[in-house]
Symmetry: C2
């Protein structure tokens, strides 16, 4: 096992899909099981999710949200209450038909999402305007039984959070959907070092049952877009279907307005495909399970190396960093370097006897593969170096994103531009038929009607209708 | 909704089961769904679990454990690999037979526990003694489809953590099972304010597939025992069944030895039934979602009350306490007192205009229903008052436990003693037949062979065999 660590991986520009899967396995993020599409989140992969979760959970609580837990199964008869919603999910559901050896009268669907469960509960606990808003969130796993699966990107089961909120007014519910999208965007900048395109989904691409869906889209290294998170504004359609109403201040009974929002372990896939390189994973410091690894050189024959490594370890740990001292003498330094490069550890400190005599040590930063000597006193700067790495990684990804956004006026331009991947914007007429045509012609989907756009007149290159909006198309995961 | 808060609950000595269910509902810990046995963990109930989880997760990590996440379903063919294990769980499983509208060739069992999944994975990643120990833990929910269910105590789905570890030697695996039992015991003392009886389960009561099961048992107010957590030592039986082996230091291939351990949201039930009283829930401060509630009196007409309440709130918050300032002027103070009593908030501070003039305020402590005046300067002592409350609650529960442990030498003595509830010890011969007889005669089960016992000769009152051990019997949840 241990001896195969040094083997290289497929270069990402040779076979991106293969490169991706190899990183997932070799960085020990996940493992397959004997059940198709169901993976194991190994400690190193799960710890990344825990770091994302910790950040978001704090942000959710700061903004008044409360965590709850609802059942992992939904009665089929309950699930069928909101028609559009059912149609969206039915093809991907797992259905429990046997319970305690008996056939169930009303089969149970393993939750693909929990709107209907929240609604059943809200119908019982919402009665007055004073009970609003209800701002609930749930951390759990959901099941979408998929034919084609890829680790973290598309699986039969994945981990996520799902927020489900109820509001007195339509405006408040919509505002909530935007507010949460902005929290996701901030997660991208502060934690994942990933810039997102923020925008609204087209009618065709929006969530089953929603009035409006907002999205954050991220650009992967291969030029494809990944939907990294969505928030939805539902209006009162579920509230009507589930008979949820409240007595408003004015004494009349009304239906509350609803939002939902979620991000999932898909974000791990985004981290891999935005930052990874031919040596493996490259992790932004805020999510890295190990932020700094210390590798003593010749520790077996040098007491100073042992003692200094330990001191530095304690120092960094006391600063609140996630640091590892790898003093396993049965592995060579070279083996360790390859191992921590594969695992994307942001900073590696090599502590050797000769350098120590000159009061210095070698610091290797993973994101740019640079090595330089620092003095022992520089150890205190490591927290700010880590912050700087996050910023630099974000800037690099942002530059890549900006270089891959183009604007086409004609189909000829579109065809030329989309060849290089990334997003190509065209004027957006709003017709579903035009979206279908685009997909047929170029295997692209409408990713987002960006929030950030100029009010300029354009013409849909398919139907010729005039419009003032644009929409981003891309090939997508 | 809001107006029904003040209604009283059934006294616990009149109908303990009814009292329990009413607290679950009225303290807003949970709600029912339309699916039998599947409950909703409402924000207040879920926050208690989050506090337990936070404590344990830290302790697990400090002792070298890593979190992972494995699938929520298990192929039937995989589940059937360990025979004893299957027989223990088969009657309670939910089985998925349809996936994506098609009938599945190999149905999926919704996990009742994850031993077999861990074993499938361990078979792949354990190859050398250097890969050991593997110390994994998972936070998730599991399903046991039950006919008779009660909130938190017995449900079709519950939240828990399950540790699954692999070790080089039998001794290490056994040591791990004891170590984790001691962590649970410490959770009881430090966090839940619940004293446990620690001991080993009899052959009849041990976990399906385990060689030895250790348990923490807690005594409820009605004199019944609740199994609050268990740890198991498996030996290498699963390792053999799943073909898990490693090359040991001596160059020979061996099977590793296994442990597993878990506690669940059942602990919320224990908290209710150990500490609760006729006014509702009584929460130990370490798990309380709100540790201190501040109720301003006449805040609408008194600026000093408003300002002081706010200052105290900020002060306590800055000390890291979970504090709530309830300045809702549409509710009467009386309504609020009843509300926070029902919810078991450890400390309530009443801040009124007259008292403030004398530089004092009223502090009500929930666990003993005492009210006393404290000076504004005493606010700084609240963290230590909270610590003291936890200790006092623990001592009270320990006294109750000790008063309910008796030792019987004959069946006549046993019959007399068990009438008052609690534990009655008898000499333990080790025969399953005697345990069955005890159950038949007195509706009791063997709860634990306590670790803490004297080496004294006794005689099993059923079969007359001589023995040096005792076992605790009790009626149990």
């Amino acid at each position: 096992m241990a001896q195969i660590k040094n083997e290289s991986i497929t270069p990402r520009d040779v076979d991106f899909a293969k490169w991706y899967t190899e990183i997932c396995r070799k960085a020990e993020l996940m493992d397959y099981t004997s059940m198709k599409g169901f993976i194991i989140y190994r400690p190193y992969g799960f710890a990344i999710w825990e770091n994302i979760k910790k950040y978001l959970d704090e942000k959710f609580k700061e903004t008044g949200h409360e965590n709850v837990y609802l059942p992992m199964v939904i009665k089929e008869s309950l699930f069928n209450k909101e028609k559009e919603h059912v149609e969206g999910f039915a093809p991907e559901t797992l259905i429990v038909t046997i319970g305690g050896k008996d056939k169930l009268d009303d089969p149970l669907i393993v939750r693909p999402t929990s709107e209907v469960l929240f609604c059943e509960h809200y119908a019982k606990i919402i009665n007055s305007y004073r009970d609003l808003p209800k701002l609930y969130n749930q951390w759990c796993s959901v099941v979408r039984y998929e034919k084609t699966t890829r680790p973290f990107l598309r699986g039969s089961e994945f981990l996520w959070q799902e927020g489900h909120t109820m509001h007195r007014t339509k405006e408040e519910a919509k505002e909530e959907a935007i507010k949460m999208l902005n929290i996701y965007d901030k997660l991208g900048k502060d934690v994942l070092a990933i810039p997102f395109i923020k925008g609204q989904k087209t009618e065709k691409e929006k969530f089953a049952g929603a009035l409006e869906t907002y999205t954050i889209e991220a650009l992967m290294h291969d030029g494809q877009s990944l939907q990294a998170g969505t928030t939805h504004f539902f209006g009162d359609s579920f509230a009507r279907a589930f008979d949820i109403s409240f007595l408003d201040k004015d004494g009349t009974r009304k239906h509350p307005h609803q939002s939902s929002w979620g991000v999932s372990t898909r974000l791990i896939g985004a981290i891999i495909m935005v930052h990874g390189d031919d040596n493996g994973l490259v992790l932004p410091p805020p999510v890295a399970p190990i932020q700094v690894v210390i590798v003593p050189i010749r520790a077996d024959i040098d007491e100073n190396v042992r003692a200094t490594s330990k001191t530095i370890y304690e120092n960094l740990k006391s600063k609140g960093l996630r640091v590892k001292l790898d003093d396993d003498t049965s592995r060579s330094p070279g083996w360790k370097f390859a191992e921590y490069e594969m695992k994307g550890v942001p900073i590696r400190l090599e502590i050797g006897p000769r350098d120590l005599k000159e009061n210095k040590l070698l610091m290797a930063t993973r994101y740019n593969d640079e090595k330089k000597f620092i003095s022992l006193d520089d150890i205190d700067n490591i927290p700010s170096i880590l912050d700087d790495i996050t910023k630099k990684m974000y800037d690099k990804a942002k530059k890549f994103l900006e270089e891959h956004i183009h604007f086409a006026k004609t189909l000829e331009q579109f065809e030329e531009m989309i060849k290089n991947g990334g997003y190509v914007a065209i004027p957006y007429c709003g017709e579903e038929a035009c979206e279908k045509k685009m997909k047929e012609l170029y295997q692209v989907t409408a990713r987002a009607i960006p929030f950030d756009q100029k009010d300029e007149e354009g013409i849909c290159p398919i139907c010729g209708k005039k419009t003032h909006r644009i929409v981003y198309y891309a090939r997508a995961y």
